[in-house]
Amino acid sequence: MGQSNAETQATACPASGGSLFDLAGSSLTQPEIQAHPNAFYQAMRREDPVHYDEKLGMWLVSRYEDIVTVLRDPLTYSDKHGYAAQYASGFFAEFKEILEREGGGFFPDVIKDDPPAHTRVRRLLEKAFTAHRVASLEPGITTIIAGFVEKLADQAAGGRVVDGVNDFAIPLTISVICEQLGLSHFSADKIKGWSAAVTAQIGRMQNREQMIDNARQICELQNFIIEQMKQREAAPREDMISDLVHAHTDDGGKLSFAEAVSLIRALIIAGNDTTATAIGNLLFILATRPEVAKALQGSAADDRLLNRFVEELLRVAPPVRGLAKMTTREVELGGRKLPEHAHLLVLYASGNDDETHFTCPREVDLNRGNLSSHVAFGVGIHRCVGASLARMEIKVAAREIVKRLGQIRLAVPVEQIRYLPTVATHSIQSLPLTLSRRQ
């Protein structure tokens, strides 16, 4: 199936013996490793679990157990400082200046704060994303997603090649989050550009020219958000932006203007980017693992099985590869002594691939007893607040795809699939497919 040696090796189960991977000569900044990282992860887990990547200037945390240790101790491993050091890395002062000059201000991400400041805002968002509230949204979201699947089938008529990421996954997730936020008139292309610009700030791969272009896009996004907030300050509506503009936190206070802008920005971006990546991965797996597609096609009405499939999809192909933390004191992790202010990249994707925690980690196994212990959504106080919504969107997408579409095939050899250049996520850039309606 054209897998790289690494992927084939990891598929051999139980995991094969010695690794031939040249860890010292490799870096996560290399596009080839970003695209096909599993052998790199495996070599780190075996040889150097908390590995210093010189080119990146970060410690890579690769083992499941160490990842959970880091995430369960937010005071030793600061999200706030790790994120700040990652953000617009190399160009931060200039980036900030552009936003202050043209984008209404520089608004730090409150979701990436440390406790206790983080807790106040987190409690507010949790109320909007309970599993029960999300369940009540399922019928409406099913209508949206079914429409996108039908449109994709129309586009693919007569054997025409469609793009599973740009024609389907991205516009679909943008539609869903805009509906939640109450944005009825939006340009999906603009939101797509804004998302890429924001996520590039933690990807570590942008040059100065790209940074300037991305900063300008983020200015446009912020000006759009501020305009939407103003409208709702004057006249509240039944939507999430109104809820945030008028929200009261548990301490009886209100969100500051800067906090509200940063939260709405986070919801627009986080609400579509990672979920779109997951839905792209869903199509990729259906196109490249016919046994999985077949199992799902026989079970479109089985909600339990679909839920389990979504968890396993997120484990095998987590959208978020790695996020940054920073040590606030000297600490030992995975046998390695780390100094204060060590900049870490926590590799969720490697944790999900850890053969000491998940038997045969490269296999899609819907009967895993420890299915939900994957770390695709993170662990601890920063665990993804929108997890229920993301899961439901992916589940509905899986259900509507297998109900409505027949065979899905890659329209190019698997080696030609390109991934976004970034250390933060593992995202297919474009997914050429042929597909037909289910007979």
Partner: protein, 108 residues
């Protein structure tokens, strides 16, 4: 209103009996009182299954069963899921549960 009692049986066998006001969830009470093994990552959204408990049999009827949404979250921890499993963020302390006993389920 008088405080009610809840007992958590930790995995290490230690029983913690806590007095709390009604209206709070058993997850919040456990987290505020450092009951080992009750993490409540998602803050009570019923989405993470890190507040999984086994309700002691004599309390099962009064506590009640998990609804569909909670059951589907519990299904994700199938290794540890039993007939008396509940996510304690979904159990609100109320007068009829005064003295309720729950055992912390093993995490994965």
């Amino acid at each position: 209103m008088a405080a009610l009692k809840v007992t958590y049986i930790q995995l290490d066998g230690i029983e913690k009996t806590i007095e709390a006001e009604p209206g709070q969830s058993l997850m919040t009470i456990a987290r505020d009182n450092m009951v080992a093994g009750i993490l409540g990552d998602c803050g009570g959204c019923c989405s993470c299954a890190t507040c999984h408990v086994y309700v002691e049999p004599e309390w099962l009827e009064r506590v009640g069963a998990a609804d569909e949404v909670e059951s589907s979250t519990l299904d994700m921890v199938s290794d540890a899921h039993r007939g008396n499993s509940r996510l304690c963020c979904q159990i609100t302390l109320r007068a009829e549960l005064d003295g309720v006993r729950v055992a912390v389920a093993p995490s994965e």
